[in-house]
């Protein structure tokens, strides 16, 4: 291996080692009493800084680091929808999350599916919500392993077996999640979240200033190479305005339907922490990921040779600043992937142990047994994700593309149900099935959504219409039964 590759790779592995050390240390110090809420939601004790950086690290994944730059390289201005997704997501979160947190604390809810169970008292609905959450998260975890693989591949200049090493790194993450649960994840994420922010802000702006002297220079260069990248529908006319608008609305509404994000909400110690967390997360986007998005434009303007569009950011850093900075920024990218993978893994495992096993088959399972079961699930899911990372079937990519549309169908049951007291399990169940069926069917014709409106909104429309129709039918039947009773009386 050449010296450059050695330096960059060493920095990435050093950051991984520090993260694992923190995770293991926390598991030794903090998780002495094996209570389920301690293991799964950190005992609802997190203060502002830890809550904020933990939620940021779980939310911003390898996709933020690699994917958004790649997206702007391919589609140009359409990539700005991810800013709207996050910022509108935090706006919705500011308004709704405190109530969700308050209910979760009052009723000792640990997962999103717990919330569904408590609100509708329906095991069928809870199991369905749990299956939707877990299934759509599987490709998300696998994606993180592949993102780390891309990072190792780039920093080692192709001289290391990147996928094998990525899986080994993932194995270390499984170890600290297994031992320390949410507390290990959260405190490790303080380090990873801070590193991500510094590398996103520093790396992006260093590149923009070095090559273009500022934003106007960058846009000027892009307009001379490909002006289509600066406006919608973008190159090839692939992302029209209606796609942008429906994507912003759909993904913002679905932002808090991801089970792992809801679980991070439950870790806050009070409502004030949640609200401050939303505000700070919006600053995180503004200072960090907003500028990473521009890296695709930079690669385009400089006609940088990329092995794939997702390589844009780290390839640029490597070419501009050499191995040390490349190692640091790549470590930030690895941090984004590992922190998200850890959060996903714990959420999936706790959903399986709590909602698919404890609440369905073994109601008398104690806290200690539940933690053990969750740990077994962490390992099991880790092994499944690893196998899938090697096999990498096309099915996973399809699942990921459907992921947002799929989980967003939980929206009425989750958030509308908080405010609409008369909403019952019949409406939510029928709406959820209609929404998921619409998403599945329309996914078969991806790219041909009617009127260019994003799949998510078609699913939600089917979902909400079914809810209203079911509600009307139930009301009519109830009124009819009451009138019969009165006549008989």
């Amino acid at each position: 291996m050449e010296a450059e590759a050695l330096i960059a790779s060493f920095i990435v592995f050093l950051v991984v080692a520090v993260s694992v050390f923190i995770g293991l240390l926390v598991s030794r110090l903090r998780v002495k009493v094996l209570r389920a809420d301690t293991y799964i939601v950190a005992g609802r004790t997190l203060g502002t800084l830890v809550f904020f950086l933990n939620s940021a690290a779980v939310i911003y994944s390898g996709y933020t680091f690699l994917g958004t730059a790649g997206y702007s390289y391919k589609y140009g201005a359409a990539t700005m929808f991810v800013w709207g997704t996050s910022l509108l997501g935090y706006t919705v979160g500011y308004l709704i999350a405190p109530r969700v947190w308050s209910l979760a604390k009052k009723h000792n809810l640990l997962t999103l599916s717990d919330f569904i169970m408590w609100r509708y008292n329906s095991k069928v609905l809870m199991v369905l919500a749990a299956i939707i959450s877990v299934v759509f998260q599987i490709p998300y975890v696998q994606l993180q392993i592949q993102a780390v693989s891309i990072i190792i591949d780039t920093t080692s200049y192709g001289s290391l077996p990147s996928l094998h090493l990525s899986v080994m790194v993932f194995g270390l993450v499984i170890l600290y999640v297994f031992l320390g649960g949410m507390m290990s994840i959260a405190l490790t994420n303080v380090f990873l979240g801070a590193l991500m922010l510094v590398t996103m802000l520093g790396g992006s702006w260093a590149i923009i200033l070095k090559y273009f002297g500022g934003l106007p220079g960058l846009y000027e260069a892009v307009s001379s190479v490909s002006p289509a990248h600066l406006t919608l529908p973008g190159p090839g006319g692939l992302r029209p305005e209606v796609w942008f608008v429906s994507s912003v609305i759909g993904t913002a509404l679905g932002f808090w339907c991801w089970s792992q994000r809801v679980q991070t909400l439950f870790t806050a110690k009070d409502v004030r922490v949640i609200k401050k967390g939303m505000v700070l997360n919006s600053w995180y986007l503004l200072l960090g990921s907003l500028w990473v998005t521009h890296m695709g434009l930079v690669a385009l303007a400089l006609s940088t040779q990329l092995r794939g569009s997702d390589y844009a950011f780290i390839t640029l850093v490597g070419e501009a600043f050499g191995p040390v900075v490349l190692g640091l920024v790549a470590a930030g990218g690895a941090a984004a992937s590992l922190s998200t993978a850890a959060g996903l893994l714990l959420d999936q495992a706790s959903t399986i142990s709590r909602n698919l096993i404890q609440q369905v088959f073994k109601n008398k399972l104690g806290d200690r047994e539940l933690v053990t079961l969750t740990r077994v699930a962490v390992v099991g899911l880790g092994i499944i994700s690893t196998i899938m990372a090697y096999l990498s079937p096309a099915l996973l990519v399809d699942l990921l593309l459907m992921g947002y549309a799929g989980v967003t169908q939980l929206l009425p049951g989750l958030f509308i149900g908080i405010f609409w007291k008369d909403l019952q399990k019949y409406e939510v169940l029928s709406g959820l099935l209609a929404g998921e069926l619409t998403v599945l069917l329309m996914s078969a014709f991806r790219g041909q959504e009617p009127f260019g409106i994003h799949l998510i909104l078609w699913g939600l429309a089917a979902n909400l219409i079914t809810i209203l129709v079911t509600y009307a039918v139930r009301k009519t039947v109830r009124n009819y039964k009451e009138s019969i009773k009165l006549i008989n009386y």
Partner: protein, 65 residues
């Protein structure tokens, strides 16, 4: 003091305004030939709106304290 868990009416209103601002003006600002401080209008608008949304959330929190 116990913090309120439900959104206030003005907060919901501000939230709705922010949502509208993210989608409604798109046809008007979808131009790259018009530049503001050297930045194409579409990009300038959404960068400004990102700053505006962040400030709105920050102010909402500060006012509520």
């Amino acid at each position: 003091m116990e913090e309120s868990v439900g959104p206030r009416k003005y907060q919901v209103f501000v939230g709705l305004i922010i949502f509208v601002l993210w989608v409604a003006p798109l046809p008007l600002v979808n131009r790259y030939d018009i530049r503001v401080f050297g930045i194409p209008l579409l990009w300038f608008y959404y960068i400004l709106l990102s700053i505006g949304t962040t400030l709105a959330l920050t102010i909402m929190y500060l006012v509520e304290r």
